[in-house]
């Protein structure tokens, strides 16, 4: 079996409700930045697109919190 691999410096979106993630995934502007869905409430996003993602999330009526990983 292969050893694990590390995704270094990745950005993730966490939502409290899977429906919100479905809404995010169906937004054409956000789709371009999304990666694999890791779980019902987690999705990978392009780290370099975080400013654009935050802007779009605010435009969609969310109040995203940004948390820097420890």
């Amino acid at each position: 079996m292969r050893k694990p691999k590390c995704h270094e410096g990745i950005a993730l979106i966490e939502v409290s409700d899977p429906l919100v993630l479905t809404e995010i995934e169906s937004d054409p502007q956000l789709q371009a930045f999304l990666g694999d869905r890791l779980e019902d409430c987690w999705v990978a996003v392009q780290p370099h697109a975080v400013p654009e993602i935050l802007k779009r999330l605010k435009a969609l009526g969310h109040l995203p919190k940004v948390r820097q990983a420890r």
Binding site: H7, E8, P64
Partner: protein, 833 residues
């Protein structure tokens, strides 16, 4: 450093200790015994408490001043006799020190302390001994008794109206709102930037905020901690909300204390403009003298009786009697600074009338009246201290707050999310909340606010919560908040906590979910996400690969047999699968590799095949093989026809001879096409004419049965390219020409990447709106992509190699860029061309 009582006493002379013993009636004859005896007395509350109770009012005021300052220089205390109660400050201090109620800290290189030094402190320029109050005295010391002024109550002809509302609180709240709105810049010296101050003044005109009140409110806000500098700008803090929530008396008291304690000399600038420089010099920072003129008036106010009217003039005379030198009127330097010929009695009187008197009048009639601490008679010549004022000045109990019923009708919330607020009934706590959570549409006696998602989120970002807003609206509204407004606010509140973006994460991906589970169980500092992922903070275990997302993206897929693509476990990123969406279905193998097969049913036939090819090319390593391009082209409806017929081939041993034949007019007319480097296809029945034409070059054509194949393109394509490059015209696509590696310095910048299809839309948008683009371009000769700024002119999406044409700022000329090689793009909204 803090010294104990005995350490302080050790620095006293024997005579000083003898004086202390005499005060307490202690029979000790030697220095050690005196020291022990005094120490024991000062440590015993049973002796100290009754003695402190017997102290005079002036002594208790002096003790309070020293206690509040923690430690105070003798000269500093003697410079503010008015705060002690008038003349005799030196005697008061001597009396306190000779009883041990005030101790002197040991000073280096100063020799033993004798009580005579206290009297000298007033006459010398140094700061004198440092005074402290022993802990036992502090514990039994009560508040300062108010200063009794020699002033008689009066009866005004017109008692005027009761103080109307709380104008100072409203002005303070307005200032906080404007600071939040404008976020003024702060200069290196801590002052508000002149341009932004002008903007604040302009913005303050609409709600009727004077520039004087604005400056004063900023000063008080800073002193209170409601306003502070952050990132070079002035911002409000949570203290501002706490202040607005406090009772009216506490609000007034904190405003007064902040004003009195502020070292800013704004009011002196106003009333002593010609000598403000000299004033600054003689009012050093960190001393009681700096704020003496404010503290003195506030202390004098505390001594006035309740519910009694006083003439402003009489009060000013009483202040003068406490200390005529409060602003150095008796000092020679002031007369010199004011260009007076001599400090005669007439000049002193005139200076007092024109400066000090006006200052104290302003404090009573403008400042304290607007803070609701004094009520003025109709003509403004008499005043009385209100209950709020008595509490704020420290002379009375906390008055009862405004009744809840009074503010019950302060606001009406309408179903269209507008809140109508009656300013006279609106308590500061509600006003502050509305300023934070809503946009003010109209100011005045009846204000209008609009609750919108942006404004509500702005309020939430500054640390508030919706429940508190709803609660305040319910409390101050006669009718309950409309259901739709309540529901929408709750929805915004819920939505606010929905999304969190984690940046700079370290995510481990396991092939086997069981391994991920076991790893997450072992470690405390990790969070398991889904079956195979673990979010971690510490050091990673042994890894098979590390994918860095802060570097330019690599191409994860290799080209497999047929139309298969494969992304090995080590290089498969979290974006590989989604990037192929629309082209192929991905499947994860047991070993973790990703495989995908291009299928016709996934392809949208309405999309230009070139765009799809570019999308694929951006994901695969090496040039995209012809089979993929051809399949995409055919599936998108582009005709890819083939036909068969017999043809005559002529093969040259040398490619140059082949090209020479093509350059002969007679020979080239017989040629149908070229196969590879060395072979030409002749038109039917033109062999004889071709031979004849070649004869002119001295070439002959022999017929044989040898294989006339030039071999696979790999064997001759490099030579072909070299020959073609030497003929290339300028202005060809950018990656055709080798170029300088100007991009080396831009390696650290990474831009968001998109599929060529979306990129095409972004470029088209930039062209339409004449905006520049920043692109990350991977040309054929560089190991890493470089950064280019481009003014886009056109985008060609229909050709086999979709490309962007425009003016490249790096090269200063027209260039073309293949979309498949653009690894990142950002539209520069601020740069038009």
């Amino acid at each position: 450093v803090k010294y104990s009582v005995v350490e302080c006493l050790r620095a006293y002379t024997d005579e000083a200790l003898a004086t202390l013993c005499e005060h307490w009636g202690l029979a000790a004859s030697t220095k050690p015994s005196r020291l022990r005896a005094v120490e024991r007395i000062l440590a015993d509350p049973l002796h100290v408490e009754p003695a402190v109770r017997r102290l005079s009012d002036t002594e208790r005021r002096a003790l309070n001043l020293i206690r509040d300052a923690e430690k105070l220089c003798a000269r500093d205390l003697l410079a503010v006799p008015g705060l002690i109660g008038g003349a005799g400050a030196a005697e008061t201090l001597y009396s306190l020190a000779s009883g041990g109620y005030v101790l002197v800290w040991p000073q280096e290189r100063a020799g033993p302390f004798h009580l005579g030094q206290l009297a000298q402190a007033a006459r010398t320029t140094n700061r004198g001994p440092t005074l402290v109050v022993p802990a036992t005295v502090q514990n039994v010391l009560t508040e300062s008794p108010p200063i009794r002024l020699a002033i008689q109550p009066t009866t005004p002809s017109d008692k005027g109206r009761e103080p109307d509302g709380d104008p100072a609180a409203v002005e303070f709240l307005e200032t906080l709102r404007l600071i939040e709105l404008i976020a003024p810049r702060v200069t290196a010296s801590g002052e508000v930037h002149k341009g932004d101050m002008a903007r604040l003044r302009d913005a303050g005109q609409e709600p009727g905020l004077s520039s004087e009140a604005l400056a004063l409110s900023i000063l008080i806000g800073r002193e209170l901690g409601c306003v502070q500098e952050s990132g070079g700008r002035l911002v409000t803090t949570r203290e501002a909300d706490a202040w607005a929530e406090a009772a009216a008396g506490d609000r007034a008291r904190s405003l007064l204390r902040a004003y009195c304690n502020s070292p800013d000399l704004a009011e002196l600038q106003l009333f002593f403009p010609e000598i403000i420089g000299a004033m600054e010099e003689h009012l050093p920072f960190g001393t009681l003298r700096r704020t003496y003129h404010k503290q003195l008036v506030a202390s004098a106010m505390a001594g006035l009786g309740p519910d009694q009217w006083y003439a402003v003039e009489d009060f000013i005379d009483a202040v003068r009697s406490l200390d005529p030198n409060v602003l150095f009127l008796m000092e020679a330097w002031r007369a010199i600074a004011a260009n007076a010929h001599d400090a005669s009695k007439a000049w002193t009187e005139s200076a007092w009338q024109s400066h000090e008197k006006r200052l104290v009048s302003w404090m009573i009639q403008r400042l304290f009246a607007r803070m609701g601490m004094v009520g003025l008679s109709g003509d403004g010549r008499c005043f009385r201290v209100t209950d709020t004022g008595r509490y704020a000045f420290g002379a009375g109990p906390l008055p009862g707050d405004e009744s809840p019923e009074a503010s019950r009708k302060a606001v009406v919330v309408q179903p269209d999310f507008e809140a109508i607020v009656y300013a006279d009934r609106c308590p500061p706590s509600l006003r502050r909340k509305l300023d934070r959570y809503a946009d003010r549409v109209r100011s005045g006696p009846v204000m209008t606010y609009r609750l919108g998602q942006d404004s509500v989120y702005r309020g939430m970002r500054s640390g508030g919560n919706i429940d508190a807003l709803l609660d305040a609206l319910e409390r101050h509204s006669e009718k309950s908040v409309p259901g739709n407004v309540r529901e929408q606010l709750s929805t915004w509140d819920r939505k606010a906590g929905f999304v969190t973006v984690h940046v700079g994460c370290r995510l481990l991906e396991f092939v086997d979910p069981a391994e991920a589970r076991a790893f997450a169980t072992e470690r405390n500092d990790v969070q398991r996400i889904g079956d195979r992922y673990v979010l971690m903070a510490g050091s990673a275990p042994e890894l098979s690969a590390r994918i860095h997302y802060d570097r330019p993206a690599t191409r994860p897929f290799t080209q497999g047999p047929g139309l298969r693509l494969c992304a090995p476990w080590e290089s498969a990123t979290l974006f590989a699968q989604r990037a192929l969406a629309g082209l192929a279905a991905c499947e994860r193998l047991e070993n973790g590799d990703l495989v995908a097969e291009l299928t016709r049913d996934r392809i949208d036939p309405d999309v230009e095949w070139g765009l799809l090819a570019a999308q694929l090319e951006a994901l695969v390593q090496g040039p995209l093989a012809a089979r993929y391009r051809t399949a995409l082209r055919a599936w998108c409806g582009e005709p890819v026809e083939s036909s068969a017929r017999a043809a005559m081939l002529v093969r040259f041993e040398d490619p140059e001879a082949c090209e020479a034949a093509l350059e002969l007019p007679g020979a080239s007319a017989c040629v149908e096409g070229r196969l590879g480097l060395n072979t030409l296809v002749l038109r039917a029945g033109r062999l004889a004419a071709f031979r004849k034409a070649l004869r002119g070059l001295g070439l002959s054509v022999s017929r044989n049965h040898a294989v006339l194949d030039d071999g696979p393109p790999e064997t001759w394509a490099i030579r072909w390219n070299e020959r073609q490059q030497s003929r290339e015209e300028p202005g060809a696509p950018d990656d055709v020409l080798p170029e300088e590696s100007a991009e080396a310095q831009d390696e650290d910048i990474v831009l968001p990447s998109y599929s060529p299809r979306i990129m095409g839309e972004i470029i088209q948008d930039a062209i339409n709106r004449r905006r520049s683009l920043l692109i990350q371009y991977q040309n054929a000769w560089s190991a890493r992509p470089g950064l280019r700024k481009v003014n886009p002119v056109s985008v060609d999406l229909s050709g086999p190699q979709p490309s962007l044409s425009g003016h490249c700022h790096v090269h200063g000329g027209a260039r073309a860029f293949k979309l498949s090689r653009i690894t990142g793009i950002r539209l520069l909204e601020d740069e038009r061309f």
